[in-house]
């Protein structure tokens, strides 16, 4: 624990040495840089694998770069084998009783209170145009606007802690800024090489009783062969 604290302090010292400290202002750090740093906190930039629990469901998620995701359903038993492959904006779902992969529409990415998109590609930088819309001594609030179609959300408003670039809360919105969901990032832990949020509590902006929690149980950086994300290989 002691060494962990020292490591965190050293990490903060390093971040401070490159000009990021509690005295940041909008002028000192560009919105693009803030967003990139937030992405680096949320997950590794390269290929990685994580085990994610959402309620009774357990998923093994393999992510390659910024566009390829393979989601394998491990639990509950009835959904075992209902896997999903995403390559950019294209999606396939494996249907166990047909024993084949079926092409599905992009909207399937948005299903569930915790959308498939919430556990697939998780980088915001490059996909969204960030803008700092407000600032306190402790936080920035960024407004993210989608730069391409097919993203899980068209607009995101995210609150970021200045000291650490830890995301605190997010509001997922329609293109007209109508709130869809609200999320709270929590349980920051050392995982896959740095301190990251391992819990995301999502609630519906329309019905606050509709809630779900995404828990990252494990995460590791890992390289995958390109063939793992081939639709024909996915057909088994």
């Amino acid at each position: 624990m002691y060494f962990l604290r020292i490591a965190r302090l050293l990490g903060l010292a390093f971040i401070s040495s490159i000009g990021i400290n509690s005295s940041h202002s909008m002028a000192a750090v560009s919105p693009e840089q803030i967003l990139k740093n937030v992405d680096d906190v949320r997950n590794p930039s390269e290929s990685y694998q994580m085990r994610v629990r959402i309620g009774d469901s357990l998923f093994e998620v393999k992510i390659e770069g910024n566009s390829k995701t393979l989601i394998e359903t491990l639990e509950p038993a009835r959904d075992h084998g209902r896997d999903m492959l995403m390559i950019g904006e294209e999606m396939w779902a494996y249907v166990p009783n047909l024993k084949r992969a079926v092409r599905v529409s992009l909207s399937q990415k948005l299903t569930g209170q915790a959308a498939n998109g919430d556990i697939s590609r998780m980088r915001w930088a490059g996909d969204y145009q960030p803008k700092v819309i407000s600032e306190t001594p402790q936080t920035w609030t960024l407004d993210l606007t989608a730069l391409k179609k097919g993203l899980t959300y068209e607009r995101i408003r995210v609150e970021v802690e200045k000291k650490t670039f830890h995301p605190q809360t997010a509001e997922f919105q329609t293109a007209s800024s109508k709130p869809l969901k609200r999320a709270v990032f929590g349980r920051f832990k050392l995982i896959a090489g740095r301190v990251r949020p391992t819990e995301l509590q999502i609630s519906s902006a329309v019905n606050v009783n509709e809630r779900s929690t995404i828990q990252v149980e494990a995460m590791e950086k890992k390289a995958f062969p390109a063939a793992l994300f081939n639709p024909q290989r996915f057909s088994r």
């Binding site: 009774d56 393999k62 509950p76 038993a77 009835r78 075992h80 390559i87 950019g88 904006e89 294209e90 999606m91 009783n97 047909l98 024993k99 084949r100 992969a101 079926v102 092409r103 599905v104 529409s105 992009l106 909207s107 399937q108 948005l110 299903t111 569930g112 179609k149 097919g150 995958f224 062969p225 390109a226 063939a227 793992l228 081939n230 639709p231 024909q232 290989r233 057909s235």
Partner: protein, 374 residues
Amino acid sequence: MRMGVAASLISLTIAQILFWSPGHAQGALRYSGELGVIGALGSDSVVQSRARGYLDPAIDFKVTEDGFGWSARVSARGWSQFAEVQSISQTQTEAEIRDSYIGYDWQNTRVRLGFQSLSWGETFGFFIADLPNPRDLSDPLLLEIAHIKKPQFMLQAQRFFSDGGVQLYFVPLARPSDFSLAPSTESFQKVGPDSEYGFRVHRLMSFGLDGSFFLIHHHEREVIFNPSPVWSSGVTASQSMGSDWVLRTDQVLIDLKKRPLDAWRGVLGLDWNGVENVTLGGQLQRDPLNTGGSLRLTLRRTSGLLDGMEFEAFWFQGLSKSETWVQPKLSYTTKSNLKISLRYDWIEGSIFDPGLLRGLLQEDRGLLWMSYGF
């Protein structure tokens, strides 16, 4: 022999349940399967009312977590059926080997040897592009769709590229399809004349079109006796449109020596997923025997009071010949994978001038399934 295979299946399953936790992998091994019973209530003497118990065990072996390296699968299916025909009880027991093979996966290449099933088509209902496997049409309405395809003993190789791939297969001795006038297994005994082979190339285009072309040499898959093998080719494609729509098509020319219109079967379909857990699909089907349209609806409930409830409906309407097939199905599955399903097949058409549904006419029935997936 069949009883021996059936006894082996049951022993294997009992051993699995005793020594392994159900539904979980143990190191490199994983077992799965289904144990169930089907009750069928026929509407007349053609379709006997009956009860069938079945067991589908499978064991998968993988050296590495991602499936690269050596892998193997052993699966089988056994069933025992009780029927009462004109006050006489009849019991029938059968067992068969399903997909069972050994394979090796390199980074971009896969080779498999053994009994295998290939799925190539994009559309639903009649699966016209899934030609590499013969069909078990002896009682198709009592089987899940995946079991209508009979695995063939083949050598299969696939080469994957980042946006496509090539697949080749060779079946030394073909298996015949199962229907009343089909050739027997003994009809296929010579490697060469009785072999089947083919290839498929696949490409995912940058604008999202997922397309393939195939050419294969195979024996007859239809309910028409034809002892000579034929060459067939086809294309399959799918394309998502906007965020809610998927366009899909399978177009095949079965027996390239026939006149084009006699050889051409095609399905063009459009699916809509605009509401969560709802799929509505429509298809237009072109076939020398009948041209028609079909609708497919799936409603799936994944939370709340009806969590695990699924309703599926399929309706085919022949246009050039008056034929109708309506199949509603309601299922409830618990999280531990205990499933109860109710299905009814209502089929109308002329037995004197049959079309696409010629193998299903007079087969109306209600079915009740209870199964446990492990």
